[in-house]
């Protein structure tokens, strides 16, 4: 854990045709905290996450994760550098079982040797055993260990979200990006989620969170960044940001315009 921010992004810009989704955004995420990105709909939150994870590259800017420049790297390379994420719309692997879903990510740092696989030699068995225990551990953390062999499709919605988190954890990330993890959850489920996020933070993972649920955000975050129309308009401790007139206007102003 260094004093260097684990995510250091400068001048991140993304355009879709004529629309500027991200406008010269700077972002610093200190190591080991929970930071939230909030903002009205269309402010560019998910676009920023996509740029960080490599899912949809930014047009310009520099992004350093743990000191490594990742601008325009393929997502799987960024994953191997220690960044994992969940998605706004659930993207579990439907044709795999729950534990197999997690094993995919658990193998993140394992090279595949066709020879070992085909011969099923000792090294292969050992590798599979390691992946298996990593995967079980991750399922344990989110509380899904008892459903390990079920088909992923069969899980109810909230548990599918937890599965995504378990999968993200299995690659032993240094940074975890959560994209609206509480979407569609009820009060109890959100509280469980909050507790899980706290536990993850304690284990040393830095968490960057995109959320609409303001109460959840304020409850768990150490730091909040606010985006509006692709620009960063505020950043700081939750209580400060809450009182910031620009932030209030961004949210309320929207409500007024639509009213």
């Amino acid at each position: 854990m260094t004093s260097e921010p684990i995510i250091a992004a400068r001048g991140v810009t993304r355009r879709f045709g004529g629309l500027v989704a991200l406008d010269n955004v700077d972002l610093d995420v200190p190591c080991g905290i929970v930071q939230a990105i909030i903002g009205p709909n269309g402010s560019g939150k998910t676009t920023l996450l996509n740029a960080l994870s490599g899912a949809s590259h930014a047009d310009a800017g520099s992004i350093r994760i743990g000191g490594n420049e990742i601008f325009r790297l393929k997502p799987h390379r960024i994953a191997r550098l220690g960044l994992a994420r969940t998605f706004q719309t659930i993207r579990i692997f439907e044709n795999l079982s729950v534990i197999e879903n997690v094993k995919v990510a658990a193998a993140c740092h394992t090279p595949t040797s066709l020879f070992n696989i085909v011969t099923s030699n000792a090294r292969q068995q050992q590798s599979e055993a390691e992946i298996n225990s990593n995967a079980r551990e991750a399922l344990q953390i989110v509380g899904l260990a008892d459903r390990a062999n079920d088909n992923a499709k069969q899980l109810p919605y909230a548990q599918q979200r937890l599965l995504e988190i378990a999968r993200a954890l299995a690659s032993k990330p240094k940074v975890l990006l959560l994209d609206e993890p509480a979407a569609g959850m009820n009060m109890t489920e959100s509280m469980t989620l909050l507790a899980t996020i706290a536990r993850l933070k304690n284990s040393g993972i830095t968490i960057l969170l995109v959320e609409h649920n303001v109460r959840l955000v304020m409850g768990i975050s150490d730091r909040v960044t606010v985006l509006d129309f692709g620009k960063k308009i505020a950043e700081g401790a939750p209580s400060e940001v809450q009182r910031n007139p620009l932030v209030i206007e961004a949210y309320l102003g929207r409500r007024h315009r639509h009213a």
Partner: protein, 288 residues
């Protein structure tokens, strides 16, 4: 050399027609019909049945064929589109291929495997100028393409129904919500798409003989043209078609005529390597 250009353009016009039929269906329901070539074959044989077997005047054969193909298009829609709405594209592809197999083998049963010829609807001595011979049929091909393009343009942009079709093509769900008779526009798309291929068949048969297995390669060339011109892009399809016709004719003459069918694929693969999303961007299957 000029002769090769004329021949290439004539061939290319036919390819363009196949592509137009394909794109009409694709633009409306986002289905690529892998049986488009078999529809071409069907058009050719219906024409032959009328004009040769039953010795009807060629003009009447054309008229009957176009009506018949429109009906075929609608049957096609009923068998393929409605049952498979919302299914993954892969299964739709396989279904249209299966339809192609059905049509091809029905044709083999009805008309037998031997190649047959169809007379051109126009007669007369060929034009000669600048050392180039242009047959009446070739002029007819160019004329037909021009007329069809004009009619299609006028229909889609100037008539009310045509504008409704464009709306359906852009956003089917919204069109339905707004009360546009979506099923009717889809039916017209299928019917017209089949007719276009049928006409292509009637134009091809006088040049190359018609036989039931001709659909496969001609259909694939329709795709190649669509890819080159940019999927969904109608003027692009025309340019792509003419371009392919030229490449094939020159290739057959200067490289090897055995592989004339292969040039289309090589060009297509080359285009797709450079532009994996096609020249005008195929819809990505996953949005982030």
């Amino acid at each position: 050399m000029g002769q090769l250009v004329v021949n290439g353009l004539a061939l290319g016009s036919i390819y363009a027609l196949v592509a137009l039929g394909l794109l009409l269906i694709f633009n409306t329901v986002q289905i690529v019909n892998f049986a488009q070539g078999q529809l071409l074959m069907l058009g050719a044989f219906i024409g032959i049945s009328c004009a040769v077997t039953h010795e009807l005047p060629v003009a009447m054969a054309w008229a009957i064929t176009m009506v018949a193909m429109a009906l075929v298009g609608i049957v096609f829609m009923v068998l393929v589109y409605f049952p498979l709405r919302g299914r993954p594209a892969f299964l739709v592809i396989l279904t249209t291929i299966a339809m192609g197999i059905v049509l091809e083998n029905l044709a083999l049963i009805v008309w037998g495997p031997l190649p047959v010829s169809l007379p051109s609807p126009v007669r007369g001595p060929p034009l000669r100028f600048a050392g180039v011979v242009v047959s009446m049929h070739q002029i007819f091909i160019f004329a037909t393409l021009a007329v069809i393009l004009l009619l299609q343009f006028l229909f889609l942009t100037k008539t009310r129904f045509g504008i409704l079709m464009q709306a359906t093509a852009q956003d089917l769900h919204t069109a339905r919500l707004v009360g546009i008779p979506v099923n009717r526009t889809i039916a017209v798309a299928f019917a017209f798409g089949a007719v276009l291929s049928g006409i292509a068949g009637l134009l091809v048969a006088p040049i190359f003989l018609a036989e039931p297995t001709m659909g496969g390669s001609l259909g694939l060339k329709g795709f190649v043209v669509s890819v080159i011109g940019g999927f969904g892009n109608l003027p692009g399809a025309v340019i792509g078609g003419l371009f392919l016709g030229l490449i094939e004719t020159f290739g057959a003459r200067y490289i090897s005529s055995n592989f004339r069918d292969a040039y289309a694929f090589i060009v297509m693969i080359a285009v797709l390597v450079a532009w994996p999303r096609g020249l005008f961007g195929e819809k990505s299957s996953e949005k982030v």
